[in-house]
Structure formats: structure tokens, C-alpha cells
């Protein structure tokens, strides 16, 4: 039973990764691509991690896995913000942020 739930979680995680990858390849501009890829990072990895979590018995390992997910969340959110900022700064005719250089 646990294995089935585990597999379900992992495969739904993989589905998010697939969708994210297709999004990166097919979306028209950087911001849209960013939107697609952050879904893969956040939800995909979260589902994948929870799937693997069910297979572990050591609570310390579980904690490490959760920590990895949280750290990737923080890193990808920050990276996403920085990339988006750079894109907005570069756009000649897009809506520039209020306090552009």
C-alpha cells in the first residue's frame, strides 16, 4: 500500500517535471519559461521527495530529504526572482519596474 502511494507520488512528481521541461522548450519568452520551470522545481521535487520519504525508515534521513526540498525551494525562488528582474531590466518596451536604474 505504501509502495503504491509512493509510486503515485513519484510519478505525479515526474509529470510536473515533464510539464516543466516542455514549458521551457515551448513557451514564448523568459518570464513564461520561468513560470513553467519553477512549477517543476517546487511541486515536482516536493512530490518526488514525499514519494521517496515513504520508503525511508530513518527519521534523520526523512528530515534531510525535507530540508533538501525546502532549500531547493528557497534557492529556486531566489534564482527565479533574480532572472525575472534581469529580464525586466533588459526589456526595452516591456513594463519596467518602478525603480529601474
Amino acid at each position: 500500500m505504501l509502495d503504491v502511494i509512493s509510486l503515485l507520488l513519484i510519478f505525479s512528481g515526474l509529470a510536473f517535471y515533464l510539464a516543466g521541461t516542455i514549458g521551457v522548450l515551448r513557451m514564448p519568452d523568459t518570464l513564461c519559461r520561468l513560470h513553467a520551470v519553477t512549477k517543476a522545481d517546487n511541486l515536482g521535487l516536493g512530490l518526488l521527495a514525499s514519494g521517496v520519504l515513504l520508503q525511508l525508515s530513518d527519521p534523520l534521513q526523512m528530515l534531510k530529504l525535507l530540508l533538501i526540498w525546502v532549500l531547493v525551494l528557497a534557492a529556486s525562488a531566489t534564482g527565479g526572482q533574480l532572472i525575472a528582474r534581469h529580464t525586466l531590466d533588459q526589456k526595452p518596451n516591456g513594463d519596467p519596474p518602478e525603480d529601474a536604474r
Binding site: 532549500l71 528557497a74 531566489t78 526572482q81 533574480l82 519596474p97 525603480d99 529601474a100
Partner: protein, 316 residues
């Protein structure tokens, strides 16, 4: 079954590395080349992890892919229009580079076979394991880097210092980016303490598990780069004197330890086994500070604007 699955994983990784390397060399533009190179570094880090060399995997991910990637991207931002034009190298240059690379590959293959199949001498790993208890640490990689072959690490730190001096003489540093929006600023403010904490952990854990000064220094430098990207002006570089001291601290302390062992036992960098653990920690502590300073200043691409008040620089 399990071994077979891992074999497929390894094969995919090897093919991916080759494809990424070729892609980086023949990319449409410098931008594509840099991005492919960063991805290449990450796959190489994975490969090192698979080869059970977590120390090198950490260093490759943090320095080879992370900071080198940031350096290349920053350089890309600074280039003038027209620099991107691809220039074909003359044939003799290609032939010369090809010849040298081939010679290097042959040399490495020979060294590999000598270590693996030769068996004429005892494998080095056994010697390290047998004398590990004298090194003051229980992580064999740290034992080699900071004790048995400390000489090499001292020279590495010196090379880093020399590179830093070269970059510092180029001109003023890049100006920080404009201040980040509240969301990004909050995330950066969250991430920087984590990076500092992880750096301190890697430095400490290096004594008995993968980690050490280079990985810790790279993480600290990454925290500084993040602050710079987010336009956090409260994270200022220390003043001239302290910055200079930070930059040379690693080399200086390392050399001091070396000279004192020379005076004590007559051999340069022969750490006495009773004190070795403490001395290694001391060297690594200062080396971490110097490595972080050097990597961040190299990322900034020049000296701080206040470096020389008599010199007048146009504001970059």
C-alpha cells in the same frame, strides 16, 4: 538488477557530459556556451558523486559550476557589443592545442594505468589509510590536502592570491545591482544566513567527512555574490587594511605554520601529530576567509572603489 540500472545512469551521464562539452565548444553564441558550460559543471559534479568522491563533487558544484558560472555570466554582462563575433583560430593554433591535449590525455591515461594496474608500488590510498591516525583528522581527503601534501594546498592558495592581485589591478569593481524588490530581498535575506551556516558546517565537518576550506569559502563567496546581486548595500566589503589582511590571511597563516614546523622539527610543513588537528583547523579557518575574499573579489572584477583615493577612476 540494481547494478544494471546504475550502469544505465552512468552511461546517460557520460553521454550527457560529452554532448554538453561539445555543445559548449560549438555553441551559437557566448551566452549559450556559458550556460552549457554551467550545466556541464553540474553533470560533472554528479559524476564525481557517483565515483564516490563527494569532496570533489562539492568543490566542482560550488566552484567549478556555481562561482565560475557566476564569473562567466558577469563577464558576459560586461562585454562590449561586437565581442561576440566568432573568430576562427588559425590552423597551426588548432593543431598545437590538439597536440597538447592529446599528449595530456596520454599522460593521464598512463598515470591512471600506473596507479590502477601497475601494482609495482603500494597503492597510495593504502599508505594514506595506514598513516591516517597521525594526521589529526579522520577524513582521508583532508589528511592528504592539509597534512601529507600540504605543500600543494599552500601553492594552490598562493595561485589564488596571485590571480586576485591580477584582478585587483584591472580597475574598479562592478557596481552593485539596484536594490531588490521586497519579495526577492526577503528571499535573499533568508538565504544568506543559510549559506553562511552551511559554509561554517562544511569547514568544521571537513575533519571527518567531505568538506573543507575550499567548499566553505565558495559558499561564503556565494553568499556575498547573492548580497551583491540583490543590491544589499549594508553588506559592504571591509576597509582596505582589513580586506588586504583577509586576502593574505590563508597564505600567511599556512606559511607561518610551515616555518614554525621547520624551526621545530627541521621539515617544512611536517605537522607534529599531537597538534596536527588543531593546526589543520587553524589553517583551514584562515584559508576559508581568504578563499571567500578572493572568489568574491574576482567576481567583482576589480578593486573596491575606495581602494586608492589618489587614483581617479571613472565610476563603472
Amino acid at each position: 538488477m540494481k547494478a544494471g540500472a546504475l550502469l544505465y545512469l552512468d552511461l546517460i551521464m557520460v553521454i550527457l557530459m560529452l554532448v554538453l562539452a561539445i555543445g559548449a565548444l560549438h555553441a551559437r553564441s557566448l551566452r549559450h556556451a556559458v550556460i552549457l558550460f554551467i550545466v556541464f559543471g553540474l553533470v560533472v559534479a554528479l559524476a564525481w558523486a557517483r565515483l564516490r568522491a563527494p569532496d570533489i563533487a562539492l568543490a566542482e558544484a560550488a566552484i567549478g559550476s556555481g562561482l565560475a558560472g557566476a564569473l562567466l555570466l558577469a563577464a558576459l554582462r560586461d562585454r562590449r557589443p561586437g565581442d561576440d563575433a566568432t573568430r576562427r583560430a588559425p590552423v597551426w593554433q588548432s593543431v598545437a592545442v590538439g597536440g597538447l591535449v592529446t599528449a595530456l590525455v596520454v599522460l593521464l591515461a598512463w598515470a591512471f594505468l600506473e596507479v590502477q594496474g601497475g601494482r609495482a608500488n603500494e597503492p597510495l590510498a593504502n599508505i594514506v589509510q595506514a598513516t591516517l591516525h597521525e594526521s589529526g583528522v579522520s577524513n582521508p581527503v583532508t589528511a592528504v590536502l592539509l597534512n601529507f601534501r600540504a605543500y600543494d594546498t599552500l601553492l594552490e592558495l598562493t595561485v589564488l592570491l596571485a590571480a586576485l592581485l591580477g584582478v585587483m589591478s584591472l580597475g574598479p569593481q562592478r557596481s552593485p545591482m539596484r536594490a531588490a524588490e521586497p519579495m526577492a530581498a526577503g528571499l535573499i535575506g533568508w538565504l544568506i544566513p543559510l549559506l553562511i551556516l552551511a559554509g561554517g558546517y562544511l569547514l568544521w565537518v571537513g575533519a571527518h567527512a567531505p568538506g573543507g576550506a575550499f567548499q566553505a569559502g565558495a559558499l561564503l563567496a556565494a553568499a556575498a555574490v547573492l548580497a551583491h546581486l540583490g543590491g544589499r548595500r549594508e553588506f559592504q566589503l571591509p576597509g582596505h587594511t582589513r580586506l588586504r589582511l583577509l586576502a593574505v590571511a590563508g597564505c600567511a597563516v599556512f606559511t607561518l605554520v610551515g616555518v614554525s614546523t621547520l624551526l621545530g622539527s627541521g621539515v617544512l610543513l611536517q605537522l607534529p601529530s599531537d597538534w596536527a588537528g588543531g593546526l589543520i583547523l587553524l589553517i583551514e579557518l584562515f584559508a576559508t576567509a581568504s578563499i571567500a575574499t578572493a572568489l568574491f573579489l574576482v567576481y567583482l572584477g576589480g578593486h573596491p572603489p575606495s581602494w586608492n583615493s589618489r587614483e581617479v577612476h571613472p565610476d563603472a
